[in-house]
Symmetry: C2
DNA sequence: TATCTGTTATATTATGAATATAACAGATAG
DNA sequence: CTATCTGTTATATTCATAATATAACAGATA
């Protein structure tokens, strides 16, 4: 896999895992229909507990990122998660707001902030075109 | 004060407080040199413990947002926090990245994301001009 | 002198993150 | 049929963090 988990980070393991899998989907490194490792094999690959991986899979399932069939195992949802509704956008704003506030206090202008966002979007686009 | 703390939220109280004070500075609701309430009075105003407020003040002091004089009490730092260096921008990118990844998966295009950021910046600008 | 300030110390409770071990039921390969 | 692998559930333990409670100290102030 493309996973790079830092066991020493203050960021919880299950959050890192969740983020990196979602980023993998956004970048097209894993495509709709692709299988994901079993909770046990992924856990032993990374060197963590089975339950930590299971927790992540449950969260991803709940958000519509993956499907879990008793037979086929774990698969990237071909449909993808539901489109962003107003509630989602509201929570998105709530997450960005403190980042912008701190940036303003540190002298990062709107232009520069938007530029950083554009560069991040390019990070995802470029990878998507490699395939 | 302009504080609105949700004691039921899963977001820790000290994080809410920290964010709202920084947002207050970014919006110009509190200006450089302005005093902040004492740890005890603010704590009793909100209905929380003195140590929770003290923790927030220590974090804000550490980041250069406020100054704590033995005499004058707590004051918004006239200098403000240090300008964003490359390390800060790196952590900023790390914070924005998962938001963008999830947005892409949910069908939010770059344009719309940037538009949301612009609106948030306006949130801060508009308030700043009221004074 | 009494009061308010930030600060420090100590202890307790509650919650969440992560682990360990075990077991169950369904599917699959030998 | 048997053995193995799958996700799932249950239970328990360890550890760190968030939040509280109570107390005390030293400097400044009225």
């Amino acid at each position: 896999m493309f996973l790079n988990i830092n066991l020493e980070s203050s960021e919880p393991i299950y959050i890192q895992l969740q983020h990196q899998i979602i980023e993998g989907i956004a970048k097209g490194r894993i495509s709709p229909g692709d299988p994901l490792p079993s909770v046990r094999s992924l856990a032993s690959d990374i060197g963590i507990n089975l339950h930590t991986v299971n927790k992540v899979y449950q969260l991803l399932k709940q958000d519509g990122y993956i499907l879990i069939h008793r037979q086929k195992g774990v698969v990237i949802n071909p449909e993808g998660p539901p489109k962003a509704d107003e509630e989602y956008k509201q929570s998105l704003r709530a997450n960005i707001r403190p980042l912008i506030a701190a940036s303003i206090c540190r002298g990062i202008e709107e232009e520069e902030f938007l530029q950083i966002c554009k560069e991040l979007f390019n990070e995802f686009k470029e990878e998507g075109e490699k395939k």
